[in-house]
Every structure is written in C-alpha cells, then in structure tokens.
C-alpha cells in the first residue's frame, strides 16, 4: 500500500506534478487578478460561519469567488497535519438558485504512528489537486420575508486524495443539506441549522480496495453583529460515519468560536473548531475523550471571498 515509507510520489509522477502546478496557478490567478476590473453593483452571499451554511443565495447575475483553507491537526499520537484548500466560483442564476464550481487541493504531513489503521504510514506531501465539486443551492423560504429561511443544497464531488490517510483514491460523494435559518433583532442575530447527509464511494488506487460510507452531520451556529461589518459567533458540529452504510463506526462533537468581517465587496470568516467529545476512543494514544480516528483534535477554517 502506498505510503508505508516516506512518500515522494508527488515528485515522481509528472502528471500529478503538472496538475498541482496548474492548481496553484489557478489559485494565484484567481487571487491576484484585480477584482475591480469586474466590479458592478453586485451582491454578497456571505458566509457568517465557517462550517454552517445560511439560507441566502446570490441574486441573479451576481458572482462570488471564494478561497477556503481548512487545517486539521493532531491524532493524539505522532504528527498529523492536513490542509484542505478549495477555490470556489459561485454564480446566481436566479434570485433563488445558485451554482458553484470548486477546485480542491489537499496536503498532508503524517508520521510517528499518527494513523491507528496504518501506524507505519509516513507522508509529507505538499498541496496537490484533489478533485472538484459542483454545488447547487435553492432558496425555498426567505429568512427576511418568511417565518424562517429554508434552502436545499446538493453537491456531487469527485475526490483523488483520501481525506484522512492522504492515499490516492478514485472517490465520489453526493453531499446534500437541509438548511434552516432564523434571524432576530432586526437581522443582527442569526441562528442556523444544517442537516448534512453524504454517501461516499471510493477505491484506493494502490490496494484496489473499495470502500463506501455514509457521513451524517448536524451543525448549529449563532452569529451576532456586534459592530458594523463585524460578526462573532459560535459553531457546533456533530459528525458521524457509517461504513458500508450500516452501523455507526464513530462520531464526534465539535464546538468553537468564529469571527466574520464583511466589507462592501469582500468578506472573510475564521473558525476555530476543536473536538470536544467523541467515540470510540483509541487505546494507546492521548485521546482525552475524543475520537481521533475519523476526526482530528483541532480544526481551523479560513474563508475569503470577493464579489463581482
């Protein structure tokens, strides 16, 4: 199986290296092309939270370009650091329907027996092209007009790198969300809930092993505008995984703060989301009541977006 020793495959595989280069070029180009060239009186579908979606959609004709980076750290043993990077282009087709296209990148630093299922695994791989997603979101009820906001979301995904081990895979996922939002105090306080269901199928390239699983998440967030342009909030996340779509293998609870700033044409959101409880605990590592197999001890997510 790939990665039993230090993995230099990314230096050897010309195709992968080329894709990585192109991915980086796309990132840099997207971020350095001066957005004022495109600017019109556009609108923002800003994310008040890092992990939770609100019910707003982009208005017809509006565009948004995002860059996400998520850092996932520590398995209670050895060294484990992973980064998930997403470059997203979003377009509003109607005032209620938007679609996005994501290019995904991923990197891993794994050593010291960090993975319980593969303690010998060592991997030091920089940012590589991981795959792409297409996101479709439809707003059913407006949080500003109706009793509460309701949106439906579906996101097919193609994946090339396993999220936990960094092994090369051919993976497909279909993430769907039910998004609810209720605002209070002249819309300065927002409360949102997401139910996320995602079946995934993947085949590990090195071993040929096939795997399928269902991920189920409940996420809740609250965000308050404490100053003009500035929002502070708390995000909670319950995540669980069902291998072979059968019995639940593990679950974890996360809870952490976030900060969001929105200017007229851009915004950012930063969330720190540590795991606070999880099951099952893995013997022989510093778990402290956490599930550090499927999930990590700490997650950080930073999003920045530009409207045009």
């Amino acid at each position: 199986m790939e990665g039993k020793a230090t993995d230099f495959s990314y230096l050897k595989e010309q195709d992968v290296y080329s894709q990585t280069f192109l991915f980086r070029v796309a990132l840099v180009a997207a971020l350095t092309i001066p957005t004022p060239f495109f600017m019109t009186q556009a609108q923002a579908d800003e994310n008040l939270w890092g992990y939770i979606y609100g019910t707003d959609t982009l208005p017809a004709g509006a565009n948004e370009l995002y860059l996400w980076t998520t850092s996932r750290n520590q398995k209670g043993k050895g060294n484990y650091r992973a980064w998930d990077t997403q470059l997203e282009f979003e377009h509003g087709f109607t005032d209620r329907f938007q679609a996005s296209f994501y290019l995904n990148g991923r990197s891993h630093q794994i050593s010291g027996g960090a993975l319980d299922e593969d303690p010998e695994r060592k991997l030091h791989r920089g940012l590589e092209f991981d795959g792409f997603n297409v996101e479709l979101k439809y707003n059913v009820l407006s949080v500003y007009k109706d009793l509460f906001g309701l949106s439906l979301y579906i996101e097919p995904e193609y994946q090339r790198i396993d999220k936990i081990s960094g092994e090369r895979v051919n993976g497909f996922g279909l993430e769907s969300k039910l998004i609810l939002q209720k605002n209070f105090f002249d819309d300065q306080l927002a409360l949102a809930y997401n139910l996320t269901v995602e079946p995934e199928w993947k085949k590990f390239k090195a071993s040929g092993e096939r795997e399928k699983e269902l991920e189920l998440e409940h996420t809740v967030g609250v965000s308050y505008r404490f100053l003009p342009h500035w929002f502070a909030g708390i995000e909670g996340r319950y995540a669980s995984v069902y291998p072979e779509f059968k019995k639940r293998e593990g679950d974890a609870y996360f809870l952490g703060p976030n900060i969001h700033y929105a200017a007229e044409r851009w915004w950012f959101t930063f969330t720190f989301l540590p795991q606070i409880s999880g099951n099952p605990r893995i013997e022989g590592r510093n778990s402290n009541g956490l599930h550090l197999g499927e999930y990590e001890r700490y997650e950080y997510r930073f999003k920045v977006a530009f409207n045009f």
């Binding site: 957005t35 600017m39 923002a44 003009p228 200017a263 044409r265 920045v304 530009f306």
Partner: protein, 176 residues
C-alpha cells in the same frame, strides 16, 4: 512552495483586497438637500424630541418594529408637514433615510440619504419609493402585501418599510 506557506495564502489576500477594492459607500443627500427635495421652498423648524419609555413601547406595539433610538430628528415644515431623519439596520451598516409627512400624517415622500451596503441599491429607485406615498399609520407596510419586494434586496426593503411604519406610528404617538 511548502504547505505551511499555502495555508496563509487567503490571509495574505486580505490587504490586497482592502487596497484594490474601491469603496462604494455613498451619501446621496444631505439633510438639507432631502428637505428641499421633499418640501421644495418650505421652511423647517427643528423640533427634536425624546420619546418616553412608554411612548417607545406603544410605538413598537403599533408598528411591530424596534425603536432603536428614542431621540427623534424631527423638523416641522412651514406648510404644516413633518420631516424626519431616521436610520434602519442594513446588512453591514445603517441605512439613513428621510420621511416627509403631510399635515394629515400621510407619507409625502421618502428619500435615501446614505446607503453603505454592497447590494440593494435598488431601494433608491423612484418607483419603489413611490409605493410609500399616501400611506398612513394604518397601512400594513408589509413586503408582498402593500409594498413590493425587490429580489436580492429583501433585507433593505423590509427594514426600510419597517422604519417608515415606525415613523408613522411615532407621528400618531408623539407628533400630533
């Protein structure tokens, strides 16, 4: 480039964005300009007032809108009308607007003075603002009832409609 450097790439974009993106905040009218736009050629006498707690509660009950400020920027107009400068919550900042009332308490005209949001500029459109003309305190002033919504600017539309409703209730409670 090493991974550790890439993770800070988004953060590095922030100052670039801050510098490269022009400000769209706009003050469209001063108070004096709004006065002359709504009541051309009239005189204006400041009549600022502070609502009592009881008045504020009654205004909130009648209008179903929060009274954020008990200090009311009110001018009495030479023809018997009233001119009020008020603000409502926008998505990121406050929206400042003016309401001109006829002597009988109906809306003569509204004007947007300052709008600092990234979207929803359509609330300045003459046709949208014209929907308020002639409304009094008994009007619902609800989106998709007697006030048409502007898709994509729903928050601004609703908050301005709520604000005008509150001004009309304030007229009934405190101006007469």
């Amino acid at each position: 480039m090493r991974t550790a450097q890439w993770i800070w790439l988004p953060a590095a974009c922030l100052p670039v964005a801050a510098i490269s993106i022009p400000a769209y905040a706009a003050t469209y009218l001063t108070t004096e300009q709004a006065q002359q736009t709504i009541f051309p050629g009239q005189t204006f006498a400041p009549a600022f007032l502070t609502l009592t707690a009881e008045q504020a509660r009654e205004i909130e009950r009648r209008s179903d809108a929060n009274v954020r400020h008990k200090e009311i920027q009110l001018w009495k107009v030479g023809n018997g009308g009233f001119f009020v400068v008020d603000e409502v919550v926008g998505k990121h900042e406050f929206i400042t607007y003016a309401v001109g009332l006829n002597a009988d308490g109906t809306v003569k005209q509204i004007e947007i003075l300052t709008y600092r949001e990234s979207y929803g500029y359509e609330v300045r459109n003459v046709d949208w603002r014209a929907q308020f003309i002639g409304k009094n305190a008994s009007a619902p002033l609800k989106l998709n009832k007697d006030i048409k919504n502007i898709s994509g600017a729903t928050l601004s539309c609703r908050h301005i409609a709520d604000g005008v409703k509150r001004v009309l209730a304030t007229y009934e409670i405190a101006f007469k």
